[in-house]
């Protein structure tokens, strides 16, 4: 009976989060988006930005909810409660990917194309372009150092298993692949040939999507790095500190990266 209450409460919280996220986009949120991308909101481009913010928030919230339920439900079945930041972040990342897939709809109207190349360099600052490859390289180096030299005992007293490094490396590879594919999909999403303000909003939306994908991917890979460092740590105290710092620091870093302002250079009109 107690378990059922826990499960019901967890599902209720999850549904509440989802429902709250499905409400109208606030003026403050719209303003933050406009400031981050130096976008001048107009009657014509406003609805597009609002639709984007609503769709992405809905899917990302659904992803977080899924991650929460996926991890917490088995714990509740044992009359315990637990929240795992990695699950939450992974769910959020999955929601962000799904949002981008949902946004990839063909544009209506005449078929025309701008000749301005859409490249990551146009939509992302250098730091975000290189953060994910750098984190992946770090993950690879740590796994390599494990393979090349003997490891100290882990928290359980057993030597770290190569399989665990393989899991983190595999996770890193999957994240890299997903971010790369999603980035290409965002860049190749058809751009409307419209007034400059509408095109500027479309560019801002693309930039925001790429920021979120790169930052979430980097955070996920950094979780793998933190886990590797914790295994490589010689003593339990250091490992615990690393894990705690990672649980708090990695999402914060991801959030900081995702919300960095960036102005997309305007293309030649006409």
């Amino acid at each position: 009976m107690v378990q059922l209450v826990y499960v019901t409460a967890a599902l209720a919280v999850a549904l509440l989060v989802y429902a709250a996220a499905d409400g109208p986009v606030s003026r403050a949120r719209l303003g933050r988006f406009a400031r981050r991308h130096a976008l001048w909101l107009t009657v014509d481009n406003g609805p597009r930005v609002i639709a984007y913010l609503a769709a992405t928030r809905r899917w990302r919230a659904a992803g977080v909810t899924f991650g929460f339920v996926l991890y917490t439900l088995p714990w509740l079945a044992e009359d315990r409660f637990g929240v795992n930041f990695t699950y939450l972040l992974a769910g959020w990342f999955a929601g962000a990917l799904l949002a981008e897939a949902r946004l990839a709809r063909p544009v209506a109207g005449p078929r025309a194309a701008s000749l301005l190349p859409r490249t990551p360099a146009r939509y992302l600052p250098p730091l975000l372009r290189w953060a994910l490859p750098a984190a992946a390289l770090l993950c690879l180096v740590l796994a390599g150092s494990h393979a090349l030299r003997p490891q100290p005992p882990s928290l359980t007293g057993a030597a770290p298993s190569p399989a665990r490094y393989a899991v983190w490396l595999g996770t890193t590879a999957v994240v890299l692949l997903l971010v790369r594919l999603a980035t290409r999909a965002v860049l190749h999403r058809p751009q409307p040939v419209a007034a400059p303000d509408v095109v500027a909003a479309d560019d801002a939306v693309r930039s925001r999507s790429l920021h979120v994908l790169a930052a979430a991917g980097t955070a996920l890979v950094l979780y793998c790095v933190v886990a590797e460092l914790a295994l490589l740590a010689g003593d339990e105290a250091t490992a615990v500190v690393l894990i705690m710092a990672g649980a708090v620091g990695v999402p914060l870093l991801g959030w900081r990266l995702a919300t960095r302002p960036w102005t997309v250079a305007a293309g030649a009109a006409g």
Binding site: A113, S114, R118, P190
Partner: protein
């Protein structure tokens, strides 16, 4: 700079796009060194197959108008330096074509020259 595609036109899609790009390059609207969008981007924006745009770029490259390099994409090629005689030949050919069009429209030589001067301004 925009290229358009009319799905109802009898002209094949690749020729529609190729002709527009060739005109832009030839007229200097797209100067040498200009980076063109990737095949996938242009195909997605126009709603045509990637093979169509790949053919456009191949034909433009065969005409010496663009250069494609792996990992660098496609850029507008440097214009070949022509001899004075070649320039004169090409101008004469273009003039003949223009005059033929003017005659078809019922315009006399003065009107055609005036239109040319207006376009140059």
């Amino acid at each position: 700079m925009i290229v358009e595609y009319d799905p109802n036109s009898p002209v094949p899609p690749y020729e529609q796009v190729r002709a527009q790009l060739a005109t832009m390059i030839g007229s200097g609207v797209l100067p040498p060194g200009t980076q063109l969008p990737s095949i996938r981007q242009l195909a997605a924006d126009l709603g045509v197959a990637t093979g169509t745009i790949a053919r456009v770029y191949r034909e433009l490259e065969a005409d010496g108008l663009v250069v494609s390099r792996v990992r660098h994409g496609t850029t507008v090629a440097a214009r070949p330096s022509l001899s004075r005689a070649e320039v004169a030949d090409r101008l004469a050919e273009a003039a003949r074509t223009y005059l033929a069009t003017a005659r078809l429209l019922g315009a006399d030589l003065d009107t055609a020259v005036t239109a040319l001067r207006t376009a140059a301004d």
